[in-house]
Structures are given as C-alpha cells and as structure tokens.
C-alpha cells in the first residue's frame, strides 16, 4: 500500500500504526490518570462548592459526563437524523464541494 522506505522516515505519526507502541502509550496514559487521581492527596485544594470537595471529583465528573455525552448524543441521533438531501437542493449538504476552487493534488504514492 505504501512505500515504507520513503515515507516512514518522513512521518512523525508513524508510531500509531505500531500496536506495541500504542499499547504502551495507552498504558502510560492510564498510569498518568491514576497519578492525577492520587495526586489529590498531595496539594491544598480550594473547592468552590461543597460537591467539588469530593476526592478526585474532577476525574469522576469528567469520566461520567463524557460517557453521558456520547450516549445522550446517540439517543439524540435516533430523533434527529435525516438523509443528506432532507432539505433538497437548497442546502449544501446534498452537493459536493465545487472542484474549481480546490487543489486536489494527490501525494505521489508509488
């Protein structure tokens, strides 16, 4: 699919395709998260309200809320989703972007 010699050296995101590195990175990320969670022990906290006094409040809140957003949007999608030409020819969704303005150059991939 792609020429490994020429492209590998150039691309800074090459590591993504390496499962070992990604696994390692995710592991690292989890460790960081745990560290952040635990670090609540080690500094003086200035909570604004009563709830955010809770230990690790921000972490928990962030986790739950993110999950909530994802599932709430999935629910919303059931309600709101329509086909692209719902509004017909009067909306840009049903059309392709006109090509004259674009410069659709392809990277040379041999």
């Amino acid at each position: 699919m792609k020429n490994k010699e020429t492209n590998r050296s150039k691309n800074i995101y090459e590591w993504i395709e390496n499962p070992r590195i990604t696994r390692f990175l995710i592991l690292g990320f989890i460790i960081i998260c745990v560290g952040l969670f635990v670090s609540d022990f080690f500094y003086v906290r200035h909570p604004y309200f009563s709830i955010d006094k809770l230990f690790g409040f921000y972490g928990i809140y962030g986790f739950i809320m993110f999950t909530l957003i994802i599932f709430a949007s999935k629910a919303l999608r059931l309600l709101a989703m329509r086909t692209e030409n719902f509004y017909g020819s009067k909306a840009v969704d049903s059309e392709e972007y006109p090509n004259e303005e674009l410069d659709l150059e392809k990277k040379d991939v041999s």
């Binding site: 609540d40 309200f49 972490g59 957003i69 969704d93």
Partner: protein, 567 residues
Amino acid sequence: MFLNIFPIFLLFFLMLPLSLIFSWKTLRILLLAIPILGFLQILSMDLNTSYVINLMNLELQLVRFDKLTRVFGLIFCLAAFLGNLYAWHVKDKIQQVAAIMYSGSAIGAVFAGDFVTLFFFWEGTAIASVFLIWARRTPAAYHTGMRYLLIQIISGLILLMGTVLHYKYTGSIEFSKLELDSLASWLIFISFGIKCAFPFLHNWLQDSYPAATVTGTVILSAFTTKLAVYALARAFPGTEILIYIGAAMTLFPIFFAEIENDLRRVLAYSLNNQLGFMVVGIGIGTEMALNGTAAHAFAHILYKALLFMSVGAVLFRTGTSKASELGGLYRTMPITATFCLVGAASISAFPLFSGFVTKSLILDAVAYKHYQLIWFILIFASAGVLSHSGIKVPFFAFFSHDSGLRPKEAPFHMLMAMGLTSALCIIIGITPGLLYEYLPFEVSYKPYSTYHVINQLQLLCFAILSFIIIKWLNLLPQEIRSINIDFDIIYRKVIPDFFKHMLGKFEVIIKIISVVKLTLIEIIISLLDKFIGSDGRISRIWSTGNMVLWIAIVLSLILVLNYSTNI
C-alpha cells in the same frame, strides 16, 4: 493629532476602490498589509479618544477608543491578517474584497460610539459576509446565503428599530450600557442575540458556515459572532438573563456536534458552545468575568480559526469535510494534523494552551459569584468541548480508520497561516500576561496554580480515558452520511410546507394572477419599446421639422396658459 483618531475601518474600506484599479498581484499584498497597518495603528492610539462627525444633525461617533475596543480591534485585525494569509491562493477578487470589507465593517462596528454608526456597520458585516458564502457559486450556496443574509438583515433592522425607539425615549444614541427595562433595549438585545446565535436564534450559524468557501469559513468564524459578543459586553454587562442564556448555549450544541457528520458544522456547533462561555461571562458582569469574556473571545478567534483552517486544508485537498469520508490523513498531511491538534488542545483548554488561561477566568468568575448550577454546566460543557472539538475533529479527519485518501500536504501559505496561529495559541497559553495586559480591566489572576492545573488535567484525562474505553467497546456514534434536524426545521420545512399546502387550494386564483401579471408586463414592455426603445417614438432621430414644431407647441402652451389665467 489626526492619526491618533484615524477611523481604521476606512483603511479596510479603501480596498473597494483600490480593487477596481490595481492588479490582483498588488491587491494580494495590500490584503495582507492593511490588517497589519490597522493592528499597528490600534497599538499606537491613545486610550479614551473619540472622533465625532456631525451628519444631518446627528453626532456620529465614528471612533470611540477604550480598552474594550482595543482588545477586540486588535484581534479582529489579527484575524483578518491570518484569514487573508490563509486565502493567499484565492484568485476570486470579489470574494477577497468582500472579506476585507467584512473585517473592516466588523472593526468599524467595534469602534462605533453610537447606535447609528453601529447599525451601519452591523448591516455592513451582513452584506459583505454573504459574498463569502455565495463565492462557492452553487445554487445551494446561493440559497443558504439568502437565508443567512435575511436573518442578518433582520437583526440589523431590529437594531434600527431599537435605536429609533431608544432615541425617542432618551434622546441619546450613544452606544453604552443599557438596562433591559424598555422595548427599545429589548429590541437591541434581541438584535445582538441573533448575531450572537442565542438558542433558537442560532441556526443561521450552523447553516451557513459549512456552506462558505474553504477560506470564507475561516474569516466568517472570526467576526460576526464576536462582534455580537463585544456589543453585548458593551451594552448589557451584568444582565442576569445572559447567564442562563449562555449556559444553555454551552449545553445544547454539544450533543448536536457529537453526531454531526460535516466537520465544519461540528466546528460551527462548537463555536456556538464557546460563545456560551463568553455570554455567561457578560452575564456575570464582574471585572474578572468581562476580562474573561474579552480574553476568551481573543483566544477563541485564534483557535477556532486554526481548527477551521485545518479542516479547510483537508477540504482543499480532498474535496470533502465529511467525517464519514475522511480518516487516516495523518499519513500524508502530518503538519496540518499537528496544527489541528494544537487547535484541539487549545479549545479543550489543556494547560499551556490558550483556552486554559482564558476559560478559567470565566469559570472562576462564575464560581466567585456562587452560581453553582451554572458552574457545573460549564464544567460539563468543557468536557463536551473536548469530546467534539478536541477529539472528534482531529480523530475523524486525521486518524481513525484509513479512508484510502492520500492527499498532498496543505500548500505552504496555509501551513504558514496555521503555523502562526498555532504559535499564537501556544504563546498565549505559556505567557498569559501578554494577553492579560490588553484586557479591559486590571488582571491579578494566576491561571497556573497547582489546583487549577491538576483539576483541569483530571477532567480532561479522565474524559479521554472514557473515550478510549468507549472506542475500545466500539460504542462511539458512527459516522454516517446524514444531517440532523435542528430548530431551523421550523422555518425551512414546516412553515413553507404549511403555506405550500394552504396555497395549493387557491391554485386557480394564483394562475389567473400570474397570467394577468405576465400580460401586463408584456404590454408595458411593448409600450416602452414603442416610445423610448432603441427606435422609439421619442428616442429615434427626429427631423428638424418635428423638432421645430415642438417649439411652437410648447410656446403656444405657455401662451394659452398665460392668457387663460391672467386676464
């Protein structure tokens, strides 16, 4: 000194006559030079000056320069420069001149010291900006532009009505703080609200921004809504209702952004959500909150432009900005991907990026005023920002599964524009003092306290953790070629359909009317042709005899008249 109070918008408006004269080569350079000149001019102006002209018994304050004006003026010039740099490749003169007129109008509005001047520029932004949508030159873009223009013009007309009433009530047209206690101020409030995309008035934004050209969206994203934020901050600071409006604005776009397929529309929703933070800040109205609003607007223009630029670059190279068609572009567009990540980090308010140092000002201002619920909503919204702008946009465009597209890296000038914007985002994030110096009030705020940083990192990292888990479980909302209905279905579908249905019953009458109309028009045209057409009775060459006869006719007319009236 004259230069001290020079109305900067003139500099921008000068491009219109110049564009008729100069070649495109020169114009391109001017397009970049003028925002820079404007920027330097604002830096060199003395604070608290004004420039008043007297026009038909109205004192128009063309320039009213104070700290609030300054920060918005500076960022508008900056945005104009970056937008024009990004659009260096565009050869469409109309589009680029419209863009510079648009930024000039926005700057003129920021400098306006009275409602009449404000109205003028308010409509100016509307009229100039619609060309950025029309420049796409498709029928759909035309219709979208008309919808956009209609709403913007209505906003201006409401402002005009409010101004007239305000003048009637108070005898003043000065653009200063108002109380929401009269019809006049409510009208003005609603007019600002339309431009600021308040809930239920917001659909023009998500409708039009994805319809603009690649470069047009970048420029559009900077001005209109932030102008409205400025106007609200100027006229309605501390108005409590704004807090709730703002909270609602941060909230609802999150869900729409999450399921939206067009990445530019995702960003438009996220823009709406970010505006919510600013509106809350205005509603709080303390010095700290207003500082937060101004600072957030400043930072927001930059990172939002950056995100639009990166998605624009993708669109420029692949021809689409739909998440379902994209993915894996990091292979061939690594630099754009990096800039996009910088924008994503900024908007998600990672420490060391610009969003962090500005958003926390607003959050803390809310907390100090003990709006607990609002505060929780804003925190929730921060997680939401991360979900769609921070993760979704870069993930679906550049990473995600491989779409098989292998476009070339964005052209150099786009990379330049994105690079400069990224640099600004990071610089503001690292040395917030630079930005704080230009805020409307004194700042003694330190964003980088341990507590802040760790809290923010906790919030963001756990949210990302949640993302990783959900991704791993394959529960993410899929990218499907689709649109989602929003409130605009009311005026785009329901009402027109209703009328169509109603009118269907009167078909015969309509037909008769149209036939009569057509024949009338035909008769008028044939009459015009007969008399003043190219060989018409009046316009053809007359013989001398005819001409002389007419002299006699006119003379006798006058004589008869004199004889009949004066005996």
